[in-house]
Amino acid sequence: MQQDTKIEVKNLNLYIGKQHILKNINVKIPPNRITVIMGPSGCGKTTLLKSLNRLTDLYPEMKVSGMILIDGEDVFHPKEDITKIRQKMGLLSQRPFPLPMSIQKNVAYGLRISGRKSRKGIERRVQRYLQMVGLWDEVKDRLKDPASGLSIGQQQRLCLARGLAVDPEIILADEPTSALDPLSSQTIEQKFMELKEHYTIVVVTHILRQAKRIADNIIFMYLGEVIEQGPAEEIFNNPKEERTKAYIMGGLY
């Protein structure tokens, strides 16, 4: 039974000051699927995603209550080692943020974090992860160059490789293609389709077509609430809620 829920969010509420940003969220996310959190801008999708690995810690004005269970471990429990939990999750943000070091070291950083030390092993794995995201051929001759010199699309794939190098079980992606050109976006989507066999992937997007292309599961959010969740086909072909229907038809923005 543990196998059909990887992430479970229970009664999650989040306030910024007096503003109620996330309203009583209850969500179940299955393993080895792409779950898309969909909804118009400003409805709390990104905040929900960031709550999953407790990046909410970075924003002192956010007050959180409720539970988020990853494999049964509560992310917000003060006794949990948050760095361990975060290592289970790789994050792709809207805009890629490579680390201020060379291309190779960016990926190696992830490897070192997860405790790999030997030099030879690291070099081999850097190559493997760069190949996994389809970047190896483009950068193999300039591994020592700064990562900041890559194009945005390449940087995003580098960030994916870096995240994978930590050996996570879950990939969180926050509108990962919104800063990318169509071709790079396609590459990222493709990679997600390949990766879902081994990872649980959660993607936030406001692009309806993207959701249709990649989603196995949909969570539809509107104004801080989860309106509907379930298998993608069901939601797209047979939405139960009026607001979901409206959004899918393109009426709700």
Binding site: L55, L58, M89, G110
Partner: protein
């Protein structure tokens, strides 16, 4: 018609501010140039190999032979020692303020306020404070007492300068670091540090410049001597005081040597800033904008 008038106003405004900008840049550049020019103009003729390679001989301050090697070495020890000490204390503090205290805005602001107050305290007060500390601990005027006093004096400058750079790190980079599972210390020393090395180098330079150039804080604490510094516990000569003493002698020749000493001081600062810029460049290209 009205449109024309508006356009003229806009254009005048543009010219006005450009002129002001030009004038103020010129004032700064001219001041710097004049200082350097007058120091070198008066000092270069008296600058000799003896100046930088010998300690003062008897009657040096009356125009006899000798040099200020003791003060050069003393100043380098003093400024190097206190900059190092301030870095050891200051860098962790600056990183701590921006990482561990990230969610405690009130605390950070309180610390910043204190540091700004400390920054405003004149160096002679630090000298007096260092002096009382010295007496309390039974120290005599010595290199060590000077290093401690100057460290206290440059610490707020260094921390605030670093803090201002570290503050500018984009939150996305912090999120990226944390979501890889880095701890706070890993984020601090592996990522924040790398990202801000150029700014940290500037902070170090700023502090070093203040440390090597300040006379008031070392007056009571480091003392002065004609001998080379050999121990942390002995009085040590420093360049600003060497300049001060030579300049207060009513003999033209000795006064010119004061300018030569100032030229040496300026040269040291110039050399160190160029060297550290070269060092920082390696990190600069890795920076994430």
């Amino acid at each position: 018609m009205r449109k024309m008038k508006r356009r003229t106003i806009i254009r005048t405004e543009e010219i006005f501010f450009r002129v002001i900008m030009f004038i103020s840049s010129m004032i700064i550049a001219a001041t710097l140039f004049l200082i350097i020019f007058s120091i070198f103009y008066k000092g270069l003729p008296s600058l000799s190999w003896d100046m930088v390679s010998q300690t003062p001989k008897g009657g040096f301050y009356f125009g006899k032979e000798g040099g200020i090697l003791n003060a050069i070495v003393g100043s380098l020890y003093l400024a190097g020692g206190s900059t190092f000490l301030a870095l050891v204390i200051g860098l962790p503090l600056a990183l701590f303020m921006n990482i561990h205290l990230l969610s405690k805005t009130k605390w950070v602001n309180a610390i910043r306020f204190c540091l700004d107050l400390l920054w405003g305290i004149p160096s002679i007060v630090y000298g007096a404070f260092g002096f009382t500390l010295m007496i309390y601990f039974g120290l005599k005027t010595s290199l060590l007492a000077g290093i401690i006093t100057v460290t206290l004096f440059i610490l707020p400058i260094m921390v605030r300068a670093m803090d201002e750079v570290i503050k500018t790190i984009p939150i996305g980079l912090v999120e990226a670091s944390y979501s890889l599972g880095s701890t706070k210390s890993e984020t601090a020393y592996r990522i924040f540090f790398r990202q801000t090395v150029p700014g940290i180098v500037t902070a170090i330079l700023l502090s070093f410049g203040r440390a090597i150039g300040d006379a008031a804080s070392v007056l009571f604490t480091t003392g002065y001597t004609d001998h080379m510094p050999t121990s942390l516990l002995q009085p040590t000569a420093t360049l600003p005081l060497a300049i001060f003493f030579q300049l207060s002698v009513p003999i033209r020749e000795v006064q010119n040597r004061a300018y030569a000493s100032a030229a040496i001081l300026v040269f040291i600062i110039l050399l160190i800033s160029i060297l550290s810029r070269i060092f920082a460049r390696k990190f600069y290209k890795n920076q994430i904008k």
